[in-house]
Amino acid sequence: MSQDKTLLDVRGLRTAFHTEAGAWPAVDGVDFTVRRGEIVGLVGESGSGKSVTGFSLIGLIDPPGEVVAGEVIFDGIDLCTQTEEQLRKLRGDRIAMIFQDPLMTLNPVLKVGEQMREAIFTHYPKTTRKQADARCVEALEMVGIPSAATRLDNYPHEFSGGMRQRVAIAIAMLNQPELIIADEPTTALDVTIQGQILYQMQKLCRAHDTALIWITHDLGVVAELADRVAVMYAGRIVETGTVDEVLSAPRHPYTRGLLDSMPSTAEPGQRLHQIDGMAPTLAGREIGCAFRPRCPNAIARCAEVPPENTVEGKRSYRCYVPLVQELV
């Protein structure tokens, strides 16, 4: 029984991908927590392991991938030790997921209504068709899709990209989950649509007290949407904290680099800032801190041992030479 507000507690999660040579950890010891009703942004560039983290939480990693170590404690239950059937019962009911590409996640040969109803029937088989339809219509209206009732009989290709993603969100909310994992849901969409969807999601989560993990590469999105943020680099979480704290006074040089690179922080006419170098590949990570080759402040120790997590009040970071100044 958890009376405290922690809903999800991830400890030491490690997910590796097998090749003939050996297994490379895409997620390399990740810890973070999510409280009830909290919106957490998981930020990182391509290859940082953020999507893999999302899939690992609910056991959707298929071979050649494997969750190698760690605990994912959801309301007192360790998801890593659950059987596939036990996980299946949680997925779509208490924990829902939204994928990145709305085109491929809906089955093109089945009607949208059927794909929505099956999410209900699989967990609540006693629901009648009428009740299920009513819930679906309600969910579609909630995400702002007009003429919801007729839309149930449409096929996925009859919706636009933004609408399809809204349908995916509606499906996620159908059974009133306690946690939603959203894997870059707006990356494939138009910027204006993105704004609408962000707004919708925030509203829904607040209204239903649903926790949300929003996985993205866009720090700007996190700034608008989230309560807390976790920054990922090369399979590790290098900084966490509230959005205000982290964005106004980042501790980790990578976070600082990300902030500086955002077009919105640049002066008009000024050249956009870039972090030197490139993120390492799965097999090319250094022994010490993975960010060291690109870090302006690196010291000798950074090449030897990866930094431990330093906790500072409600925030944390992994760095031997953290930044201490406040950003203007």
Partner: protein
């Protein structure tokens, strides 16, 4: 949709016309047409009369015109051997072939698809690998020899089934069918299985690869994320998606089976169209050969049309793409 059908109909007509031209010129213009069409046993005077009547002294284009005109009236000449209209001769044999093909296709569906499903779902397990390996045998066996092995095994050595011929028939809607008699089943069993085996192997492999591909699709992962039961994922998500290509292949195979029935019918002395064709080729009964080609082309064209329409019906994406031309 109507536009689609109309366009396909026109294409089909064009194909029929093209075939008629090819066949006509192959048979009536290559070599000495007189020798080909006039039975060699006929006397000199009758030869002249026949030549005149058949119009073989006319220019080739006029001959083709006559040929086409007659063809449209269902007259494709008379058989040398049997003396009756070639078309009638072939049509008489259609029910037998049709019977064989239908049983073979049914076997293909009830054996090929489930086995393919299992092979695809258990691809890495010994079961899946075993099924796929056996399927290679299925399409490696030469069809005619396979039939002979069956005869040797079941008719000569075990004596369970008759070695040749069609069983007693019963008239259904005026058409004689043998599958409605018990004895008829004993006769149709081996030929139908013989015809079906290569097809089963093909459909099996197609289904298996389809399943493997469908499984790796995002919508399957998404269904899992929704908590949908594995059984339902296979039934509704995977099956619906692979059924489309599988159904079209089976449809196309229908025509192919009619062609391959020539072999099976020869081995088992099954009195169908195929055996008639082989006999006619052997006996140099060319009008029958011509008639067979024309009729079979017609059948193929019709089947292809039906399959295309079926495809458009089954895959909701197709219709939307058509008008976007």
């Amino acid at each position: 949709m109507a536009l689609f059908i109309l366009r396909r109909l026109l294409q089909s007509l064009f194909v029929l016309l093209a075939v008629s031209v090819v066949v006509f010129f192959a048979v009536y213009a290559v070599g000495d047409p007189i020798e080909l069409l006039v039975s060699p046993e006929v006397g000199q005077a009758e030869r002249q009369a026949l030549i005149a009547r058949l119009g073989l002294d006319l220019p080739i284009w006029q001959q083709y015109g006559h040929f086409l005109w007659n063809a449209l009236h269902g007259d494709l000449g008379n058989s040398f051997v049997h003396g009756m209209p070639a078309v009638e001769l072939i049509v008489q044999r259609i029910p037998a072939t049709f019977e064989l093909v239908v049983v073979a296709i049914t076997l293909t569906c009830i054996i090929g698809i489930p086995l393919g499903l299992v092979a695809g779902l258990y691809r890495d397990a010994p079961l899946g690998r075993g099924i796929m390996a056996t399927s290679v045998l299925g399409f490696s066996l030469p069809n005619f020899w396979q039939g002979m092995v069956f005869i040797l095994l079941f008719a000569v050595w075990l004596g369970w089934l008759p070695a040749s011929g069609r069983g007693p028939t019963v008239d259904v809607l005026g058409v004689p069918f043998s599958i409605f008699t018990a004895e008829g089943w004993r006769h149709v069993a081996m030929p139908a299985v013989n015809l079906a085996i290569a097809n089963i192997a093909l459909v099996l492999r197609l289904t298996a690869t389809g399943v493997v591909e469908a499984r790796s699709q995002d919508y399957v992962k998404f269904a899992r994320a929704k908590g949908v039961k594995p059984g339902r994922i296979v039934r509704r998500h995977i099956l619906r998606n692979i059924l489309i290509p599988v159904v079209t292949v089976i449809g196309m195979e229908f025509g192919s089976l009619i062609a391959y029935s020539t072999i099976t019918e020869t081995v088992f002395s099954w009195p169908g169209m195929g055996k008639l064709l082989i006999d006619s080729v052997y006996q140099l009964d060319r009008p029958v050969v011509v008639a067979y080609v024309m009729l079979v082309t017609l059948i193929f064209v019709v089947i292809n049309l039906i399959v295309d329409i079926l495809y458009a019906v089954l895959d909701p994406r197709v219709q939307l793409l058509e008008p976007a031309h």
